[in-house]
Every structure is written in C-alpha cells, then in structure tokens.
Symmetry: C3
Subunit: 392 residues, 3 copies
C-alpha cells in the first residue's frame, strides 16, 4: 500500500477495453445464502457462463448448466435422483454435483466417458450470508480474501446482504463510476442525503496540481485497487454556472459552513478493488444525535453478459456480541436498506444505464469517445490497475 503520485504510463493495451465480460480468475458474489435452500437448484449467468447451483448437506456446489452429451440445459427441468447428483432430464447422463464427474449413463453403464469426462465445476465459498463463486481456470483458486472488500471477512464484521438487481449496462460503466466520488452530482436531490442532512459535495476537485495524488494504492497482498477519500479532495458545495449572461448558483442542500446541523463527511472513503468490488463508508451517523457512523456499504458490479451486470449490495458493521449483530441487522433492514436503495443507489443505476448506449456504439472501442477531465485521474487509475491485475 502506497500513496500514488504518478500518471499512468503503461496500460496493457486493450486489456480493459477487452474485458467486456469481466476479468476471469476472480471470486464474484453469485447469490445470497438465503436464495439457495437445502436441495434447491438455482441458476445464474455470470461472466457469460450459465451456472447451476445446488445445496447438499448445507454446502452449495456449482457446475456448468449444460449437459456434456447433447447440450441440454439441466435447469430446463432439473432432475436429482440422489442428493449429490444432477441428472440430465433428456438422456439420463448423471453427474456428481460436487465435482462435475460423469458418474452414470443408463443406456451405456460401462461407457468410457464415465470417469473421463466432467462438467466444469466452480469453486464456491459461502460466508457472511453470501455465496461467492470462482470464475476462471486457476486451481486451486487464490484466496477469497483477495477479492472481497478490506475487513469484509473479519470475524466481528456483521454483514447484511440486501439487494441484487440486473442492470442494463456493461459492468465497466458501473466500476468506472464507482472509481470516482465526482458522480455525487447525481445524488444532489436524493432522499438519503436529505434524511442524513448530509453535507455531500456535488463535485470534488483534486487538492494538488497532480491529479494522480490523493489516493492510496493497494497492490497486494490482499485486495488490489485504490482508496480515495473525501479528505483528499476539495469538496464543492457551491458552484456558479454562467453562460451568455445567464447565471445560476448550485448549492448543496447541506453546506457545512451554513448548516450546523449537518455532520462531517471527511472520514468517508471509497475503496475500489478487483474484480468489481467497492467498499464505501463509514456511513450511518445519526443526524443531531452525536452517534458516529459505523456502517460500511459494500457493492459489486458482477458481469452477466456484454450489456448487463448484476448490482449486488450489502451492508456491514463491526459488532462485539450477538445482540449487537441483531441490532445492526434490524437497523439495516428497517432503516437503511429501503432508504439507501430507493433514495440513493437507484440514481447510480440510472446513471450507468444512461451511459450504456455511448459505450456500446458500434465502431468504437470502450471509452474511445470520452473527453476526460483532470478528476478522471480516478477512472484512469482504476482502469490501469484493473488491466494490470492490480499492479501499477
């Protein structure tokens, strides 16, 4: 981990531009634990692949959702004759759900295929109420710790997963937007901001002449990416627009100079790490109550296909007892979740969907039409690190 101060000079050509289906050889959140009950079969598309998941004796396993024989999609009509197998409904080819091994063919019990063919089997780790899946070819896979947010797996971190939604934009548009605080412009009128009486700036300016200063690089071990923080930028709470004699001044709803009831924001930092993983916080301070914010917001932009990603949101809080965990869970479920999703994250979804057409225009590489400003040093830094697997 070190402070950054250099302009990116060597981006691996095309790597970010080519990552339309995401970066492979990483862990991604697939589903919430509660979505897959014992013996239940579920499916999802992730990084362009069709995956079937099943819970057996408490543990979830995942295989490719397509029979090796003649391509029938198991999930069209899932059939399980033992709890640890999946059988293709079409001709009875039967696989060990735990490792994908082909274990039986009713019409050819002695086939040489048995024991020699296997479905792709996806490593799954279940933790904090979430199912993580490893998409890639490394065996064994790298530790999950490298692909989740800092602190996420800590034993005293209580996590409440609360939203998962398919968004009509390529995952990179969402990740690019997450890399920079500057898109707070979209949150100007959001209900969450009003509830908090939050002095959220609607823009941020780099503090120094070098826009590549002011964020902290994480080059591993552990999550790879960077931190940017409101304390490292000059927040903009007021801005005068002038055009041909017409003028107007934009003002934040809550300006720290003029609204004493509001609370400090400078502690809030965003950490964007590979593969598509954001932690932002702390949040959740109580306006006018003196209660310090202690919630972390987690989110992911999981690639589905070229034009969609799955937007997954969870909240977390350090707790020291089961009672505190229950209280945090209650707080998140009743007070924060609706307010944050309806009154804040929906703006992010709209921003990403409204940019999809431009990034998807035929004849252009990803980002080719952009006109970036100094503050987009964030975006370029993210792309450089992402394309280089976290190296700078």
């Amino acid at each position: 981990m070190r402070k950054s101060n250099k302009k990116p000079v060597e981006i691996k050509p095309g790597a970010y531009e080519d990552a339309i289906l995401g970066f492979r050889n990483h862990w991604y959140p697939a589903l919430f634990s509660a979505d897959v009950r014992e013996t239940e079969v579920k499916t999802l598309k992730i990084l362009g692949e069709d995956v079937l998941l099943k819970r057996v004796d408490g543990q979830v396993y995942a295989v490719r959702d397509e029979c090796l024989h003649r391509g029938f999609k198991f999930s069209t009509k899932p059939e399980c004759f033992t709890k640890n197998t999946i059988t293709c409904w079409f001709h009875g080819f039967t696989y060990n759900i735990k490792n994908g091994d082909l274990v039986a063919i009713p019409s050819d019990p002695d086939s040489k295929l048995i024991g020699n063919r296997k479905l792709h089997s996806y490593p799954i780790q279940e933790t904090k109420g979430m199912l993580f899946i490893f998409i890639g070819d490394m065996s064994p896979p790298p530790p999950l710790l490298d692909d989740v947010q800092f602190g996420f797996l800590d034993e005293d971190n209580h996590v409440a997963p609360f939203h998962s939604e398919e968004v009509h934009s390529n995952w990179r548009i969402a990740a690019d937007s997450a890399s920079e605080f500057n898109h707070t412009f979209i949150h100007k009128e959001d209900e969450l901001v009003k509830y908090w009486k939050q002095p959220l700036p609607f823009a941020e300016k780099p503090k120094s002449d070098n826009p590549y200063e002011g964020f902290i690089l994480h080059e591993g071990p552990g999550p790879k990416g960077f931190t940017d923080a409101f304390s490292d930028v000059i927040p903009v709470f007021e801005f005068k627009i002038e055009c041909d004699g017409e003028t107007n001044t934009l003002r934040s709803a809550f300006n720290p100079q003029t609204d004493p009831g509001s609370m400090p924001l400078q502690d809030v930092e965003g950490i964007l790490t590979l593969p598509c993983t954001l932690r932002i916080g702390p949040w959740g301070a109580e306006p006018e109550s003196g209660i310090t914010g202690s919630y972390m917001h987690y989110e992911w932009y999981v690639p589905i296909d070229e034009t969609h990603h799955r937007y997954i949101i969870a909240w977390g809080k350090k707790v020291s007892s089961e009672g505190e965990a229950l209280k945090a869970e209650h707080d998140i479920r009743t007070r924060w979740s609706y307010l944050e999703y309806e009154g804040f994250n929906k703006s992010d979804i709209l921003a990403n969907e409204g940019s999809q057409a431009a990034y998807d225009e035929p004849g252009y590489a990803y980002g080719e039409k952009e006109n970036l400003s100094r503050i987009d040093a964030y975006v370029l830094t993210w792309r450089r690190m992402a394309a280089n697997g976290g190296e700078t």
Copy 2:
C-alpha cells in the same frame, strides 16, 4: 433395405452441419387440407422461404410470397381479381397462381416482362388430409412416396392430421432426438405412459458389441433412412445410480417382470427417413383388453428458419371400410390426440427447446460440443445417411 453393421466412415464433411435450413429437393408437409378453404390464401415460412398458398377449384397452388416488381409481400393484403390469379396490391402486377407466370401489368400492358418473368411456383400434392410442398429446384420433383413414411400413402391407411406447432429449436435437434429411442428417459412420468400402463424402458442398450448393428437401413427406392426397434435393444427398466455412497434405483412405472397388467412393447419400431420424417408404432393397444395396437404415429420436423421448426403430427390406421375409418378418426380425435400431445409429445418439445442454446452457441459448428456414447450410433447413422441423401 439391409441390416447395418458398420460404423460410419465417410460422412460428407459439413453437410449435416450446414443443413441449418434443412435439405432441399424434398417434399415437406406444409399445412393441413382443412387449413386452406376454397379461394382462401394462406402463407407460411418454410426452409427460410416465404410461400403463399391458395386453393382454386379444389386444388392448392403455391408461389413465392413476394412480388417480382418491387418486393411487396402479397400476403400483406392479398388481392385476387380472378380465382386463378394473385395481384400485387401495390402496383397491380398480376400472376397466374398455378405456375407463377406474370400475366398482367395495368400500367404497362405490353411490357416485355409479361410472359418472361415468373414467380417461383412450388409443386403441391394433397393427400391424406395434408398439403405437401416441394422445396427445391428439381423439375419434375421426385415422387412424394420417397419423402413420406412407409405405408403412409397406402390406400387403406386412414390418416388423421392433428397437430402443428412452431418449436423454438433448429429442426436437426428434433431429428437427432427422433433417431434414437434412448430419449425415452424424458417420458418416464408422462401421462400417456401411465394411461397405457406401458412398460416403456427409460433407456436402451445395444444388444451386441457393435452399436452399429440392430437397425435396418433403407437406401431406396422409397423412403431413405433407417429403422430401429425395441426388439433390437436391451431395454432398461431399472437402473442403479451410485455416487459417493449415495444410491438410488430408478424403476419404470411398469416393468414387464413385475407388472403383469402391462403389454408388450417389442413390436414398436421407429423409422426415421429423409427429409425429417418419423413413423413410430404400432401404438394404441388397449390395456388389459387384449386389443392389439394398430395405430401409427407420424411426425415431421419441418425447418422454418435457423432457430425454429414446425412440429407436425398425424396418426394413421389401416382400415377396410368407411365405418372403420370413422371409428379410427373418432378414436384419434377423442382418445389419443390430447393424451399424446399433452402427455407425451410436449416432453419432446421441451427436450428440443432445452438443447437449442448449446447447438446454437456462437463459435461452434453444429454438434461440435457433443460427447456421444455408444448408443448414439443411432444419431451418427442418421446424420450420415441424411448428409449423403440416404446413402450409407
């Protein structure tokens, strides 16, 4: 006709793989006779071509559904000023429906185009309550007898056409599936099987070490393809699945050893012939009544476009009088048709639709991803014969 015992060695490269729109120069069922009343105009898409059909003085004619002049699709607003013509609604170009000849242009009555241009005209034969259309360039076309099921055209064969449905799969997936009995796995729980108390095996094993024995080749004259029969395979009525210590035994609902009320299946044979034509039977025995089955099931997988085929079903029975024909018609309409479609053929549709994505995956040739087993000798034999026009 001869017994097969050889592995296919010389498949014309790519021919089956390329036949995404079917094999041309064959007769296909288009519509049922009752679908086209006197003077009525109907359209359909078949092997990728748009065809317009019209009945004139009892006989049905078919031409390409697109005006030669400026491409207007006649069926958008069909206009007929004499019973034996079709006029383009746009500029009045008028064609002889019987042979496609351009016969009149209101704005240019002496045009050289008249008498020198013609719409493609499709040979039509109507028999057994069905309309067959010849798609191809051979003139005259080969006999219809070569492209329908054995016995279908026999004078004493009463045919009841009863179902036609667009299915979302390429026609080859359906034909491949029809080539092998082994997909009976999908019919394990079907209502038709329960009604029959039918000892339908859910899998079949080749009787000999050579899986290319056991079916009869038909290399013409007449329909080209092959017969496979339940009497030529070892039926599987019971199968033990074992995986990592978990076991289960699949048992047919009706096993000839244990269920004396059931009836023999060994007489049932399937004959798959070009272009996409199946006869299976005899069916229809009365459980516990001693009545021998005497119905033949006919079906076709008519290519529509790259990703759809029309699944057409008819039943037939040899009769010796009009009274018997009426009785057969009544039986089929009231007792068999619903039961067979809802309780049996719908499973075939689901199987074919559930395999479409795998066979249509970009970057793969048809069948490239398969892992075939010994019993798939059926499928390979069908593909070899189909690709070679019925020759082995």
Copy 3:
C-alpha cells in the same frame, strides 16, 4: 427547370443504394412547433443521430444528445440550471444549448476542455408551424428554401401540420413510391376517393414511347427533383385481367366517361424533391359544388434509422387574410385530416411496410431484386437525381 426526355445513363454507382440513413447536408422536418413549448426539452432520432431540442426565449436549439465526457444521454434525466444551458446529470458538464459549447465543469472549473470542446449543434429553422433541422457538416448550411416544397415558404401560404408517425420501412421505399403515380393502385377503395367521387386512375401509362418524357426536371436553384402530372400520362380507369380463360375487368369507382358527378384530375401534379420531400395537389375540390381544389398536400419521409422513417404530413393553402387562414385551418383539421390519413395515407404506410422485408433481405443491395417496368422510369429518374444531388 426543363422537360426530361432522356434515359438515365450515369448514376453515381451505389450512391442511392448506400443512402440507407438518408442524404446528409439537407434540412429535414424534425417536430411540429407545438411539440416544443418554452423551456421544454425534446429528443428525436434522425438520420441515425440522437438529437436533443430545447426552446429558449421562443427559439428552439438542438444539440447532440450525448455528453462528451462519459457519454451519458442528457435526455435520460435532463437538467437545466440556466435557461440557455443543458447540464449532464451524471457529472455536471454544462453546455450552451445555443451552440454546444462546453461552459462549465463543477469538479474542474479551469479545465482546458472548457472553450475547446463542443457538442455538435444543429441549425434549426422554425417556420409554418414546423421545426426544420439541418443534418450535415456544411457551415453555413444552404438555404431552407432548397429543401422544402415549391411555394411552401410563400408568405401567403397557410400551412397546417397534422401528422407525424414512425413507419417500419426504410425511407427510400417511401420516396420511391412517392416518385410515381402508379401506386394509386393501392388507393382504389380508399374512403377519401369515395368521398371525393374522385376519378382517380388506378394506373398510368406513359404517353410516348419514351417513358423518360413527361415529367419536368428541377435542377436548381431551389428544390431539386422532378414534377410528374396526371396530365402527362394516360390514365387507366379500366383494365381487363385475363388468365387461362378466367377474366375480370377492374373499373375505377369513378370514371370520367361514365360518372358525370366526378371532377377533373388532370391538374394534379406531384413534385418530389430532395431530400425526401413531396408536394402533391391541388386537392380538395368539393364534389358537385363547383368549388375548385386549392389545397396542397405536403409530406416527408425522414430517415430515422436503417429500417424506420418518420412520415410527416402537412397541408397548405394560399390565403389572403387571417380570416381565410382560419377557415383553411378549420377545414383541414375537421374535414381533411382524418379523412386523408385514415382513408388514404394509411394505404401508403401499408404499402411501404409490406415492401420492407424484400429491400432488407441480407445478401442483396437495395433494389437488386427488382423487375422494373417502363413506368418505373419515374423511380429511376428520382434515384438518379437524388444520388447526384439533384443533377441529371
């Protein structure tokens, strides 16, 4: 302006065939004035481009509907902090709506981008209740007068815009059809014809052996295209169809020889000019009342994308006072508009949509499958002039 008598010999190869998105560097009608109220923001797609329009102090301005920064489509959530700007909702990039200049970036107020980048700004002219937009790169653009119908802009011409509809055909199919009277075949049974008791021929034959005689070329200055008139062709009111012994005679509902109540048509002429602009008339005579028709029908086939155009219709009449203008407006709104659209123009839409598939068939160039007749000299003349920018 001169009489034509020559067959086209030098069509710029491919130019009309390539103009799938229309001809650039022309004025097109975009919206009706009433569609854009003061401060209102509207969008449309035209010639494949996404355009945002806004009315400021009475005048309408238009810019490209995509932020230069990171591609957000302004119209997803339009934001205007001053009346003469449009601000990107995503990061606050703000543009002068009048010329597209980037005028402010809240997070980078001193950015070099400001003053050096601009959105594409589209010239707009508003006249006769309609908004015309210039699509192209010429600066300054040529006069609007060149791209509207003869007489359209005359001070004493009262125009009532009354219909705008997206049609599912490429614009060229509509323009080709507008170039020739011969498609009157589609209007044989239209309600408007019946109301008028109009002796509308259902076909026209060239008067001379040279089908390239009989229309007047307009090669500029002013609108470029050609006039064809009913007085220059032999109208067909009766036509005998004969085919294999079957015969029928088509007769117009109103034949001037046999129906004395009808009125003359020979004054009606159609003028098709670039870019996609038709004037046809005069219309609107009162059957059996002696009132001479004095209305002009205007229409345009504005390219939207490869497979759609916007069909825009207006009517006009020379008036000498405000009272006459009001009377004309009332006439058009109550008596003509519904009758013409429902009872006449809807047939044109059906004709164009019914031809789209043939002109869009993969593997063929535009028009490659046609079989043109002598009367299609109209179509070829239009294509030649259009491809050559109005030159012959």
